[in-house]
Amino acid sequence: MLLADARALCPDLTAVPADPAADLAALEKLALWAQRWGPWSAMDPPDGVLVDVTGAAHLLGGEAALLADVANACTRRGLRVRAALAPTAGAAWALAHYGPPAAILAPGDDPLRLLGDLPVAALRLDDDVLTVLRRLGIRRLGQLVGMTGAGADDPQAEAAARDALHRRFRNRRSPAANPLLRLDQLLGRVPEPLLPVIARPVPMVQRRLMEPLRQRDLLDRVVGDLALAMVRALEARGEGARRLELALWRVDGEVLMRRIELAAATREAEHMLRLFAQRLEDVDAGFGIEMVQLRASWSEPLGLSQSDLDAAAESHGTALAACIDRLSVRLGPQAVTRPVVRASHVPERAQGTQPPLAPVPAVQSAGPFPARPLKLLDRAEPIAVLYASPDGVPQRFRWRGMVREVVRVEGPERIAPEWWRERSTTRLRDYYRIEDEGGRRYWIYRQGIAGDGRGGVPDWFLQGLFA
């Protein structure tokens, strides 16, 4: 039903936009929180959490008490839950979704006593497989188990029954499309690997302040303390920070965030302090700052290094990573780049950029190009050219308001458009190296040739400057 139709039926409908990414993040948090009942938990998107409570139920007074505790704790947080407990993840899922409330399947029980009456949808199958099963007349789990011959006394008859079902779904490799595989997982005959959620606390240090801060120099001292504490926290983990987030809590409840990214993992308090000093210029303290927190939300392994031997080098200049950090904090991360060669013949595409400290990708060298200019203009500038014949060499051109005589010329070097990337109407380019009467050397091109059927008279552009 469309939202407009629904609103026509019920005018005071409340509509909230869906946010799947936030839902997933919330589910991940819930899975971590659910580790209070067991040491290991996994997400079951979009709305489930699996917890392994093997050997942990007695801590809460038994399995029934555990399920009651789950229901209690979730209800207190405003969550409506259906919890179930079973020896396998598949059985627990089936009971939680389709079984009686707070169902418990003990390891010694016959699984089919509780599960036999559940619909086949409890097998976590795709919709089209469910349609197939419905057309085959299989509606309950018990019917499917009967078809596999699980209860048969004769092993050969059981194998034959399984084989029939196996051949019916032989092309289905995915467990969600293969009822036989799902049934085996439910009954615990084949293992079912799950991806656990593991909490990874980020290094975080914070200071609550007795008196709200209003002066910049005091704030600098607190940030300096935090940087030292952060260095110790990182050192204990053998890591260096790549991204640091500084949060300042003001008295009126406002939270100011400052974030810096570093070109290489670092553990130098002085360097962090210096980078933050520039970002703290525009902090509005208001009535004062009462708490300061520093988190390293992205950190990378960084080995311990001997500090004494390096001291001589440190007193003289900065390291490259520190220099690039300082530049990109002030000028922006886009301003500091490393030009790299890209595989293309078109000059403006033959060069790309990447972060300065990232490893340079290996590019197959295209062999020695003919002479290329030292400087390339960001956008080729149109020039007016006087020529003897439309597809001949230029004789005189006007660029930036100056008429220049062409004294020497070499060309054309034809660079065809990249047909796998561009439209078929893109015109080819004929490049010329020219030198004017003052000795200035340029790289100009004619876009297209007269009569190529892709436009009128070709235009001329100046693209590069030779040294």
Binding site: A319, L320, A335, P347, Q351, T353, G439
Partner: protein, 254 residues
């Protein structure tokens, strides 16, 4: 930043070397004793400034025997310089410099000066090349003095290309005025443009007499070009191999 007198700065070593008796009065390519901060004034409608800066840098590194140096090179441009003169193009750079370049696109001259100074303080950089267009207010004598001191203290060389600028007060140790000049005719295609040639004027230098030269970039080495039209012998692509010991003519002459 405390200056420790026990450790002589490169600038002191430079002046000491000069006092020790190598007064090269006349500048020539291939001098090992070169200042750390040079300025090159060039028109913005040609790449002669960047070309000469690159050639001088390679000249110094060749003279110092640091050809194998693989440290990165910082190339700083402000926005106006990028708009007027374009960005450095990797395929046009010398092959050894292609994977060493780190480019900084600063939006204002103030940011460009900050980037230059930070680059000069960095021990992991081989040299710094800057391009600033015009005569911005931020680039006054104090700013150039800061650059000179930083370069000499940390021993990182700076070539600052000033596009379309008037030579005003500056503390650069060498100041060049350069413009493009007619190139020598290549041997195999006399109507084609030849190797890069500049008309360079050294109008202020410490320890050198001012002078004018025709400089040309001969396969990566900086040379003084004697005659603009006569020396058509440069062979930029090495089409011919030197016939060592095989030529009949050479044997006949011997």
């Amino acid at each position: 930043m405390s200056f420790t007198p026990s450790r002589p700065s490169p600038a002191r070593m430079l002046s000491r070397a000069r006092a020790a008796g190598v007064p090269e009065a006349r500048w020539r390519p291939g001098l090992a004793v070169q200042p750390f901060h040079s300025e090159i004034f060039a028109p913005a409608s040609e790449a002669s400034g960047a070309g000469l800066a690159l050639a001088l840098a390679r000249d110094v590194f060749a003279a110092l025997g640091q050809d194998e140096d693989a440290r990165p090179v910082l190339w700083v441009q402000d926005r106006k310089a990028i708009r007027l003169g374009g960005r450095p193009f990797l395929h046009g750079l010398p092959p050894a410099w292609r994977d060493r370049l780190i480019h900084v696109a600063a939006s204002t001259p103030e940011d460009a000066l900050f980037a230059l100074e930070e680059g000069l303080k960095c021990r992991d950089l081989a040299c710094v090349i800057g391009e600033i267009a015009g005569n911005p207010r931020a680039l006054d004598f104090t700013a150039s003095r800061r650059l000179s001191l930083a370069a000499e203290r940390h021993g990182v060389r700076l070539w600052l290309v000033r596009l379309d600028a008037v030579p005003d007060l500056s503390s650069a140790r060498m100041r060049w005025q350069v413009c493009a000049a007619r190139s020598p005719r290549p041997r195999w295609n006399p109507v084609a443009p030849g190797s890069a040639t500049w008309h360079a004027e050294l109008f202020r230098a410490r320890g050198h007499v001012p002078g004018e030269w025709m400089l040309c970039d001969d396969n990566g080495t900086l040379r003084i070009h004697r005659d603009a039209d006569r020396a058509a012998a440069t062979d930029p692509v090495h089409l011919v191999r030197p016939t060592v010991g095989r030529s009949l003519a050479a044997r006949a002459r011997a």
